[in-house]
């Protein structure tokens, strides 16, 4: 018998030592959101596998669904479990404040790709966000940006009345005309965003009007920065600790509660991740609160099925968010973590990431610009880039289209040689498809049935840094105008978007508010039913007791009779 025990102990020791061996230097533990990296499905590039092969290591890749889950899970694990964790800006702020993360050490040396290719304006945004109470620190010192985007409304323009000039107001989700057609994210912060912006919508509109009077135009820096400051003020709680600001903050939460309770009757429901497919399928909902990346996914899926969807950040403001990587304190493999960050910040990898998940990376640069522009429209030609079948380029003010077979690519050929390219200079004798892109007299046009319509180029200079040989302009395909705006919001959209920082000490209040909103329902029928049930139970009980007494009396009577 003893031998058996010894064997058992030996066996356990053996397995222990085996697992220990596994945790060698070459394991990188990553904690990311589900479906948030190009993983090899649908002909995409498997980035993790590629990374493992390039650096001869093993990646342990774990996923979560919401930031809150990640936070819970992270705190439950012992220090050093994860080497890299992704989170949205507010949870990054919270975790860094709690001292769970390390700052990035020498970014220029460790993550050169990010240092060189990250959008300067986005890094500036990160620099403007604080994440520490005591020392002067900003988010940029702690995180490496991964994806960013906005929160807006995706809708079916054939059902929801929409005017291109006027945009969309938050009122649309409250519109009784569209009752039971909208779903909202089942997430506290996203719902809060909708309630807040609708609650202050009339105030926002009057501020916008007065700013318009002051500056004369919407399209100037003064208007934009003042509007942005106002929207940001709406999102932020006043944290100076005085009674007055506390009152104000609580009033804000109460207003959001009222707004959301009002909204509930008009909603189809709340969704966690089903919305992005349901809106495409289209039988249940026609409007959905969505992240820009999911919207890009839904719009392109709908296009494949011959349907049209649009994404808009409503006029009265929206939310802009940034997802970024953090380096947990005490992680075992910092070196490999830096290598991974450098790897995903590589232009090629970032563009295949964007291709697969639909979200917009922090990475900009020559290659990203080529990927973006050839997907959404025409842009200036660059001899160093690779082009594929169907790409439109502009060279010497003439539009060319890449005309090669599907699986071929073309580099180092000038379009005017017409080798692999065809000219798209307008020729009235040729029959064009509706809204095809053509060039004529150094301008780009859409061909319509009523003649040529000039194309407004989409300017990406607010996100991209200077490109070498080309303008940062994209002449979008007619059907891609909205998708391009979704992927890269314009300056005007970004001006009306605020960052929703960590709620801080008010988090508890917002959670309670959220619970109250979710449980909000007309209680009268429930009270009535409960009263009926209670009376029924009491009557039954009374009947039972009386019946028992009766039968007892009857038995006694019988016994007495028998006795006689």
């Amino acid at each position: 018998m003893k031998k058996k025990y010894i064997l058992l102990i030996l066996l356990t020791l053996l397995t222990c030592s085996c697992t220990k061996k596994d945790q060698s230097n070459n394991v990188l533990v990553i904690y990311n959101v589900e479906d948030y990296i190009s993983n090899g499905e649908d002909d995409s590039v498997d980035l993790i596998k590629e990374f493992e092969e390039t650096y001869d290591c093993e990646v342990k890749y774990y996923t979560y669904d919401t930031n809150e889950t990640m936070y819970n899970q992270f705190k439950l694990q012992k220090q050093g479990t994860y080497d890299l964790v992704l989170g949205s800006e507010y949870i990054c702020q919270k975790m860094i404040k709690e001292g769970l993360m390390d700052p990035i050490d020498n970014m220029e040396l460790n993550i050169p790709n990010y240092y060189q290719n990250c959008s300067p304006s986005l890094r500036q945004k990160l620099q403007s966000m604080d994440c520490s109470n005591e020392t002067i620190a900003n988010l940029d010192q702690y995180v490496v940006g991964y994806m960013w985007g906005t929160l807006g409304i995706i809708f079916d323009p054939s059902v929801i009345e929409y005017d291109e000039l006027e945009g969309l107001s938050w009122d649309v989700i409250y519109d009784k005309k569209y009752a039971n057609l909208t779903s909202l994210k089942n997430s506290m912060r996203d719902a809060y965003d909708a309630g807040l912006l609708h609650g202050y919508a009339s105030q926002t509109r009057s501020i916008q009007d007065s700013l318009l009077v002051k500056y004369g135009t919407k399209y100037c820096d003064g208007y934009r920065s003042e509007l942005n400051a106002y929207i940001q003020d709406l999102f932020d709680f006043k944290l100076d600790g005085s009674d007055e600001s506390e009152k104000e903050n609580l009033a804000k939460i109460a207003l959001v509660k009222e707004e959301l309770c009002k909204l509930k009757d008009n909603l189809f429901g709340w969704e966690t991740d089903s919305g992005k497919n349901d809106i495409v399928e289209g039988s249940k909902i026609k409007m959905n609160l969505a992240y820009s990346g999911d919207a890009v996914y839904s719009i392109s899926l709908a296009k494949e099925l011959g349907k049209e969807l649009m994404y808009i950040v409503p006029n009265e403001g929206g939310n802009i968010w940034y997802d970024a990587w953090m380096l947990p304190k005490g992680s075992k493999n910092r070196d490999l973590a830096y290598k991974f960050l450098n790897f995903v910040s590589d232009s090629t990898n970032a563009s295949s990431n964007m291709d697969y998940i639909g979200y917009t990376p922090f990475i900009v640069g020559e290659e990203m610009f080529t990927t973006t522009s050839s997907y959404y429209g025409a842009s200036d030609f660059d001899i160093n880039q690779t082009y594929y079948s169907g790409d439109h380029v502009i060279y010497n003010n003439v539009l060319y289209m890449c005309d090669i077979s599907e699986d071929e690519e073309i580099t180092n050929v000038y379009p005017n040689t017409l080798e692999g390219y065809i000219s798209k200079e307008y020729d009235s004798s040729i029959e064009y498809e509706e809204y095809e892109l053509v060039s004529k007299d150094s301008e780009i046009y859409y061909v319509t049935s009523e003649g040529l319509e000039i194309v407004n180029p989409y300017d990406l200079s607010h996100i991209y840094s200077e490109l070498e040989n080309r303008d940062r302009l994209i002449y979008p395909y007619y059907e891609s105008i909205n998708s391009l705006e979704t992927q890269y919001p314009s300056l005007d959209v970004m001006a009306r978007c605020g960052v929703m920082n960590d709620y801080g000490i008010y988090n508890e209040n917002v959670i309670i508010m959220w619970g109250q909103v979710k449980a909000y329902i007309n209680m009268t029928p429930f009270y009535i039913i409960l009263i009926i049930v209670l009376t029924a139970i009491l009557t039954l009980l009374a009947y039972y007791i009386i019946h028992k007494k009766k039968s007892a009396r009857y038995r006694r009577y019988k016994q007495e009779n028998r006795g006689k």
Partner: protein, 261 residues
Amino acid sequence: MKFKRKFLAIPYVIFLVGFVIIPVLFIFYYAFTNKAGQFSFENVEKFFSDETNINVLLISLVYAIFNTLICLLLGYPIAYILANKKYNRSPILYMLFIMPTWINFVIRTSATRDLLNWIGISTGSMSSITTMIGLVYNYLPFVILPLYTTMLKIDTYQLEASYDLGANKSTTLFKVLIPMTLPGIISAATMVFMPTLSSYVISDILSEFNVVLFGSYIDLYFNQANWNFGSFMAFIMLCLILVSVLISRKSEKGNEGGSVL
């Protein structure tokens, strides 16, 4: 060391301690401490000071009562037919009723959501009805099973005797059949009532998160990393379940006494 028969219980005892007793102790610990880990009645105060919390509990109670009643009303005749050799000669019919439980209930519920929308019962605008349908659909087998087993044991001659002694059909049902199957009814009711109180996947999926039962309310707090308050609500649920178990056991015992007389 000599092998004793009671050693066979060791694996289960380990399981019981690890997965039942220790987690319950954790619930107690979290329920009566605050975020800093100190003993406090903060959560008790928080729970009873906001009527929303109690309302959610009442809503769940109503759903649970309705679910139990509907399941019993539907399941009782079915179980009677299944157990009666006159109507049901092969066990296949019985299998058909139990078969839905072989499929994972999350998958089944998601399919139900699409099915209901397809036939025109919108999960968004009629969410309380669809939740009810989903609950009944999921818990019906749990009612049929105990009722079926009790009814199998019934001696049909006793029913015939009842008719012979002049009782009509309804008297036979209420005075003979139901009292005889009362243990089955009670265990069926407890098997439906208690899980419904804490169920939340069915209501979440089938009501588009519009119907919030106590289970999803607890989940909401756990999701937001408020373990203490969530645990306190789980503790309240435990108490409720304990009460319903005690009631059902007591009535079962009472019934036994009744049948002896």
